[in-house]
Structures are given as structure tokens and as C-alpha cells.
């Protein structure tokens, strides 16, 4: 029964995997998240776009890892023990996202999501699909296809 409830409610609720980049909180829709991995060795890829940190070995397959802070134009911070790689999948393409820490899986009521982009800058505005308000916190929801996708166009 519980699962039915969740499904019925999902029309108005969004489950997100929330994570930190510097002091801000961001989120991906849980439907796109495959798994969360601790930091492993990342191999630099020459000539790759600047925001691609490199590639990792995920159980035998080679996966690109995007430095999300660099992608969103945020300032770099060193790795910490909390640094994680969030593996997301969009359109059959799996990509790792380097984040500072994964905080929680959160259900956000769609009423609490502000679609306005007023607060975002023009440069990174396309990456943001909305801002979720949870208690007193703000979770910036990211548009995965844009975060991954641009490289394909280049």
C-alpha cells in the first residue's frame, strides 16, 4: 500500500537527491540518479572540455566525470572525505558528477518549487530547472540534460 501512496502522490511531489556544492544545496531528480560513489581515482582526459574532470572505472566501464562546480561556474574547492561522485543517467548516457557532499534524498512538494529563474545568472541559468523550498533551506534543482548535454553540441 505504501508504494501506491507514493505513486499517487508523485504527481505533486518530486524526489530529489540533494547535495552540496560549496555552501549551496543542489538537487537532481532521483529518477536520473543511478548510484552514489565515493571518490575514486579520476584519470585526466587530455583535450576534454574544461569542466570534465576525467574518467573513472565503474565496474569495468569507463565513465566521464563532470566537475559540477566548474560546470556551474562556482569556485573550486579541494576534495574532502565527503566528496562524492553521483552517477546520473540521461538518455542512455551515464555520467559521474563530482559534488562536495550528498546530503539527503528529499521529497519536495511541487508547490514548493519555484520555477522562476530570477535569481540565476544568465550564464548558468539554463542549468537550473527550479528552486525547491524545504523548511528554511533552498535546493537548486538542476536540469540534467543541460548539465550533460552541452558537450555533445560542441
Amino acid at each position: 500500500m505504501a508504494s501506491t501512496d507514493t505513486q499517487a502522490a508523485s504527481a505533486e511531489e518530486v524526489q530529489v537527491v540533494a547535495f552540496k556544492l560549496r555552501s549551496e544545496e543542489y538537487g537532481f531528480s532521483i529518477l536520473n540518479v543511478q548510484e552514489i560513489k565515493g571518490l575514486t581515482d579520476i584519470t585526466r582526459v587530455p583535450f576534454a572540455p574544461e569542466f570534465v574532470k576525467g574518467v573513472i572505472n565503474l565496474r569495468g566501464s569507463v565513465l566521464p566525470v563532470i566537475d559540477l562546480k566548474r560546470r556551474l561556474g562556482l569556485e573550486d574547492t579541494p576534495y574532502t572525505p565527503n566528496t562524492r561522485i553521483v552517477i546520473v543517467k540521461f538518455d542512455e548516457v551515464s555520467v559521474g558528477m563530482l559534488v562536495d557532499a550528498v546530503t539527503e534524498v528529499r521529497t519536495i512538494d511541487s508547490d514548493d518549487i519555484d520555477a522562476s529563474r530570477a535569481v540565476t545568472t544568465e550564464a548558468n541559468g539554463k542549468f537550473v530547472s527550479g528552486i525547491g523550498k524545504v523548511d528554511s533551506r533552498l535546493i537548486i534543482l538542476l536540469n540534467i540534460s543541460e548539465v550533460i548535454g552541452l558537450t555533445a553540441e560542441e
Binding site: D41, T43, R44, V45, P46, F47, A48, V52, G54, V55, I56, N57, R59, G60, S61, V62, L63, P64, V93, S94, V95, I148, T151, A152
Partner: protein
């Protein structure tokens, strides 16, 4: 037999042809007027005849020949397709199938009696009804088949049995089948013999006791035993032994010939019957020589069983490959653990595992390999058709079609080859009249040759046509604005001809304007290069051209040299490595500000990998020794300066995925034994 190495192929192909014969006949039955089906059947029969004649199986060839005659008459409408005729042909096919299987089993083709069938076929061909031909072959065939595995008794044996029977004992022929999974066949057969010995006297076994001990039999054998127990007791005694799937004891009655049948019936499961055809026990005439028991022969030789191939989705093989790769990676990790903690036991076990994984890897690799004949097969037909269309006499020679290539390469190579062949036919080989005027034979020779060359497979498309006129190519390239006049003139002929591979060179008008080639040559090149290969052309006016395609054996796994630059590891495909050398900084000279070295009198430009790939500088490495990996693409050589050579290793190529596709200088990535990812260099981009 020298032809032995072709046996497997012969059998496979024969089965294939027989299968299509069967299908064709079925089609013909439903649609007797369809000439195309008839032609197809005829072709199959003809090929079969040729193959069996080549292999020296005259009887098979003869029967096929007679059948072919019949088919030919049908084809020429000298005879009408009737049910009777189709039936007879079906019977021929069945007999042929039997013969082929016998050949596969290591028995000769002679075991199937086809004389009646041949008579029938010839009778029909002469316009008589097959019914007029004497003796149906079916019962005969059945008899020979059923008699298989039964025991051939000689005079002495019979005497013993007779005596035993006289003493009120019974004689049994016991047919024993072991389970397929039985590993200790000799032990089981020994137990059977023991059990039977306890019941009475074992007179004879087929195969002989010695052969049973040496496991020289498949899964069944026959024992002849005299005992005072009844049939059931014998079966129970043997059946109590484990791993025995079937026991049939049949009473032997020497004086009643009809008793032969049950003995034969004891082996119904032994299909396809080796058809050794010894006379059934009961009516064995005294003269039947007890020559080496035929069923034993079957056991001696490897069976070429039918239906051994399976079609598998290539993706499944890829997955398998990935899993094997992971297994190897994990094994290496375990090895490291064993080393650091000095666990001898673990290390020893891992050595065993190492052997298994290596075998596993090579098996998976082999599974992916298919002979190029799969692609080549379709060309003779195409060449014939095209030659007709172009009004040219062309003789296509195919060589080395057994050369094996990775499945993925095979799938991709067809179109480029077709392009090249079409070009050779269209633009290479001249019209017969023109050839005659040049003093060449009217028939043009076009060759399609595959062979191994080191770690590569080379496929060549050759022709003895007009060759490519370098000047015309130069002009065309200048006209197209691809090179300047000066550049074009500076090019030696060999290089000028290579201009045809440049994109944009080949357009529709080029085909007609230039007497050389040009149809989609850039497409050919990019296709080949996407497969990790390389295409080149050499040509001589009026003598012909040779297009040479060099392909890696496989796309999945290659031999590579691992090199280190600062802290980064890179893999260079061994196929493109010429040599590795050790130089000192003094050996590096400059020519027009470009660094070069002199190797064996040749000036070779060098690139510093660290700079080219902008590897972050961790530590300055000003050593006396500089490692240079000399790589080549075609005739061009370049030296790659690296910090360290790690060693040669087999690597599994992984793509970098959509996100990172098309990065220059990288051909992919690989996961190393320690789980790290290393980039594979695209050598041609470094030049």
C-alpha cells in the same frame, strides 16, 4: 589424410547444402513450376558434388551426380516434376545426409548402400518409373543402421553360447548406456563387467575390454554374457550401478534367425547410427570374419556432430568480454593483496586462476572471430554481374578467405570492400578491346586477398588494369582547391595518388573525368580508419593498382605498450610501434625549430607527449636517458618522447562514450589491472 584440415569445413558446408536442398525440395513440392527454386537446388547439388569429389568421396559425388542429372532434366523440362521424382530426390538427400554423417563420424561413406537408389534415379532419368527399379533401399538402410553397436560373434563365441544354451543357460546381449556426464567411463564399464561376471560368464564385449578400460568408446557398449539368470536379473544387476542411463538385455538365440531383431533393437538410441553393418548376431554366417569391431572405430575418432554452432548476439559477447575483463582486473587486485600480506596460499591459488582466466579470455576472443569468407562470399556474384553490365571480362581471384577477423570488423568491412571492387571493375580494368590493344589478355584479373601480417590482417584489392594517372589526380586536386599547384607538383607520384582519399575529392563528375578512381574513396578511408585500420594504394600505369587495407585483428583487445608521462599512464597500440629507443638529450637535433632524431640514418620528427597532451608538470624530469617510442603510420615515422616505458600488455579497448567522443589524439580508454583508467593514444593524430 591431407584433406583432414578441411574436413570440418567440408562437413559444415555439406550440411548447409543438404539443408538448403531439403528446403528447396520442400519449396519445389509446393510449387513445382518454380524454376528459380529448381535452379537453387541444382546449384546446391552441384556444389555438393564438387566438394565431395574434391575431398575424394567418390560415392557421394556419384550419387550427387546422378541426382544432378535428374535435376538438370527437370530444369530443362525434359521431365516433369512429379511426386515420385521429388520423393526419390528426397531419398537421395537423406542418403547423402547419412553418408556425410558417417564421414563425420570417421566411418567411410561406403556404409550406406545407395546402389538401389542410383538405379531408381537412373531409371527415372531414362523415363521409367522408380517403382520398376528393384528393391527399396529404405529397409536396407534401416537394417544397417539398426545393426549398429550389436555384437559380432565369431565361431568360437557361438560355440560357447551353444554349449551354454545346451547346459540350460541363457545368452544375453546387454546394451549399456552411460550418462553423458559420466567422467569415469572406464570405471563404470569395469563395474558393469564385474557385475555381469558375477552373474555368469562374459563372452565378449564391444568394444573390447581393453578399449573399455582406455575409455575408447562413446557412451554405450555391448556385452555378451551367458548366465543362468533371466533377462530381468541381468538388467537389474547392471542398472544398480550409478551413472548408467539405460540397460537392455536381449536374449541371444542362435538357432532362430528372427531373434536378430531384438538385438538390433537394443541400439535404437544410437542415432545417427555408425551403421557399421556387421551381420546381426543370430544369422552371422560362419564366414563373417571378426574384424576389428566397427563401433570401436567410432569411438576412436572425434565426432563431427551436427548443429554445433549457435548464433549469439554480439552484444552478449561484448558483455561477456567486459565481465572477463573485470574478472582479470579483480584477479590482479587479489594478487596485490596476496603480495602485500605475503599470503602464499592465496598467491598459489591465484596462479591457478590466472591460467583459467587467460584461457577464458582467449576463448571469448576466439568466439568473436569469424572468417572473412563471410564477407568475401558475396563478391563473386557481384563481380560477375557487374562485369556483365560493364561488358568486361573479369576473373576474380579470392585468396585467404579463411583469415579470421573480429566480428565487428567483419560487419563493417563489407561496404568499403565493395566500393574498392566496384572501382577496380569500373575504372581499373579496361575494356577487352582496349586491353588487347595494350597487349594484355582480354580478361582482366581482379584479386581479393586476405592474409595475416603481424598483429594485423591485410586485405588487398588488386587489379591489372590501367592504373591511376598521378598527373590527372594532381590536376583534379588543384582544380578542387584542395592543394595548390606548387604543393601538388612537389608531391611524389605515390603521394599524389593518395590524394584520392581526401574528402571532397570524389564527386560524381570525378568518376567520369578522371580515368582513375574516386568513388567515395574518402568514405572508404574514414570507414577503415574508424575501425582502427589504414588504407593505402600503390599503382603503376597500365599495370594496375593495389589497394591495401590494414586492419587490427580485433577491436576489443589489442596489444599495447604502456608508457608514463609524469604521473599519467598512456597506452600506445603495439601495431603502430616501430621500435622503442633510448637516447640522450644530445641526440635531439632541430630542423627549422622542430625537434628530430636520427634513427638508422632516417630523420624522424619527435613529439614530447607531456607537452602535446599538456600533462600537468608534477616534477621536472631532466634525466640523461630519454625514452622514445617510434611509431609509424604507413611510411611516416614519428618518435614519441615519454618519461618511462612500463611494458607491453593486452588491453581491452573501451570507448569514451558519447560525451567525450571525437577527442583528438585519443582512440579510447582502457582499464588497467589495478583498476585505473588509461587513455589509448591515436597515433595517427600525433603525426
Amino acid at each position: 589424410m591431407e584433406t583432414n584440415q578441411y574436413m570440418e569445413m567440408f562437413l559444415d558446408e555439406s550440411r548447409e547444402h543438404l539443408q538448403s536442398l531439403n528446403d528447396g525440395l520442400l519449396g519445389l513440392e509446393n510449387n513445382p513450376e518454380d524454376l528459380s527454386v529448381l535452379n537453387e537446388i541444382f546449384r546446391n547439388a552441384h556444389t555438393l558434388k564438387g566438394m565431395s569429389a574434391t575431398m575424394g568421396y567418390t560415392k557421394t559425388a556419384e550419387l550427387t551426380h546422378d541426382m544432378e542429372n535428374l535435376l538438370d532434366m527437370l530444369r530443362k523440362e525434359q521431365l516433369k516434376v512429379s511426386e515420385e521424382i521429388i520423393d526419390v530426390i528426397f531419398k537421395c538427400v537423406d542418403s547423402l545426409q547419412e553418408m556425410i554423417e558417417n564421414i563425420g563420424n570417421g566411418d567411410g561413406e561406403d556404409l550406406v548402400d545407395v546402389s538401389d537408389l542410383v538405379r531408381q534415379v537412373n531409371a527415372i532419368a531414362k523415363g521409367e518409373s522408380a517403382a520398376a527399379a528393384p528393391a527399396e533401399e529404405a529397409p536396407a538402410a534401416a537394417a544397417t543402421a539398426e545393426a549398429a553397436n550389436s555384437i559380432q560373434l565369431n565361431d568360437t563365441d557361438k560355440k560357447v553360447i551353444k554349449e551354454a544354451l545346451g547346459a540350460g543357460m541363457l545368452a544375453f546381449s546387454v546394451h549399456v548406456e552411460l550418462s553423458d556426464s559420466c567422467l569415469l567411463k572406464s570405471a563404470r564399464s569395469y563395474m558393469v563387467m564385474n557385475a555381469l561376471d558375477e552373474l555368469g560368464d562374459v563372452i565378449k564385449s564391444v568394444p573390447s575390454g581393453e578399449d573399455l578400460e582406455q575409455e575408447k568408446f562413446e557412451h554405450s557398449f555391448e556385452v555378451c554374457v551367458v548366465t543362468d539368470k533371466d533377462c530381468k536379473a541381468v538388467e537389474e544387476a547392471v542398472g544398480a550401478i550409478s551413472e548408467i542411463t539405460k540397460v537392455v538385455a536381449t536374449e541371444i538365440k542362435l538357432d532362430v534367425p528372427a531373434a536378430a531383431a531384438p538385438v538390433a533393437a537394443a541400439a535404437p538410441a544410437a542415432a545417427p547410427a555408425p551403421a557399421a553393418a556387421p551381420a546381426p548376431i543370430a544369422n552371422t554366417p560362419a564366414k563373417a570374419p571378426a574384424k576389428a569391431a566397427p563401433p570401436k572405430k567410432v569411438a576412436d575418432k572425434p565426432k563431427h556432430a551436427a548443429g554445433q554452432s549457435v548464433r549469439v548476439d554480439i552484444e552478449k559477447l561484448d558483455t561477456l568480454m567486459n565481465l572477463v575483463g573485470e574478472l582479470v582486473t579483480n584477479k590482479v587486485r587479489l594478487e596485490q593483496i596476496g603480495m602485500t600480506h605475503r599470503l602464499t596460499e592465496l598467491t598459489e591459488t591465484l596462479e591457478q586462476m590466472d591460467r583459467v582466466t587467460t584461457d577464458l579470455q582467449s576463448v571469448v576472443m576466439k568466439v568473436r572471430m569469424v572468417p572473412v569468407s563471410q564477407v568475401f562470399n558475396r563478391f563473386p556474384r557481384m563481380v560477375r554481374d557487374l562485369a556483365k553490365e560493364l561488358n568486361k571480362d573479369i576473373n576474380l581471384t579470392i585468396e585467404g578467405e579463411e583469415t579470421e577477423l573480429d566480428r565487428t570488423v567483419i560487419d563493417e568491412i563489407g561496404d568499403p570492400l565493395m566500393h574498392l571492387l566496384r572501382n577496380s571493375l569500373d575504372h581499373g580494368v579496361e575494356h577487352p578491346d582496349e586491353r588487347e590493344a595494350k597487349g594484355k589478355p582480354r580478361t582482366g584479373e581482379v584479386g581479393l586477398i586476405a592474409r595475416h601480417e603481424g598483429n594485423n590482417v591485410v586485405i588487398m584489392v588488386t587489379d591489372d588494369g590501367s592504373g591511376i594517372n598521378a598527373d590527372k589526380i594532381r590536376n583534379k586536386a588543384v582544380e578542387k582547391g584542395m592543394v595548390t599547384r606548387d604543393e601538388a607538383d612537389a608531391l611524389p607520384d605515390a603521394d599524389a595518388v593518395r590524394l584520392i582519399f581526401l574528402p571532397g575529392f570524389s564527386t560524381a563528375e570525378v568518376i567520369t573525368d578522371v580515368s582513375g578512381r574516386g568513388v567515395g574513396m574518402d568514405v572508404v578511408r574514414s570507414k577503415i580508419e574508424s575501425l582502427g585500420g589504414h588504407v593505402d594504394v600503390t599503382t603503376k600505369i597500365d599495370e594496375g593498382s593495389v589497394f591495401k587495407i590494414k586492419l587490427p585483428l580485433t577491436l576489443a583487445i589489442i596489444q599495447a605498450m604502456l608508457v608514463k608521462v609524469q604521473d599519467e599512464m598512456y597506452a600506445i597500440p603495439l601495431g603502430s610501434i616501430d621500435s622503442t629507443i633510448n637516447i640522450t638529450p644530445n641526440d635531439i637535433k632541430t630542423v627549422q625549430n622542430k625537434e628530430v632524431i636520427v634513427l638508422r640514418g632516417q630523420i624522424i620528427p619527435i613529439v614530447r607527449l607531456g607537452e602535446v597532451l599538456s600533462v600537468p608538470k608534477g616534477h621536472e624530469q631532466e634525466e640523461e636517458d630519454i625514452f622514445v617510442v617510434v611509431v609509424h603510420v604507413g611510411d611516416h615515422k614519428t618518435g614519441i618522447v615519454v618519461d618511462n616505458l612500463i611494458g607491453q600488455q593486452e588491453i581491452v579497448i573501451k570507448t569514451l562514450g558519447k560525451l567525450l567522443s571525437g577527442l583528438k589524439m585519443l582512440a579510447g580508454a582502457t582499464v588497467l589491472g589495478d583498476g585505473h583508467v588509461a587513455m589509448i593514444l591515436d597515433v595517427s593524430a600525433l603525426m
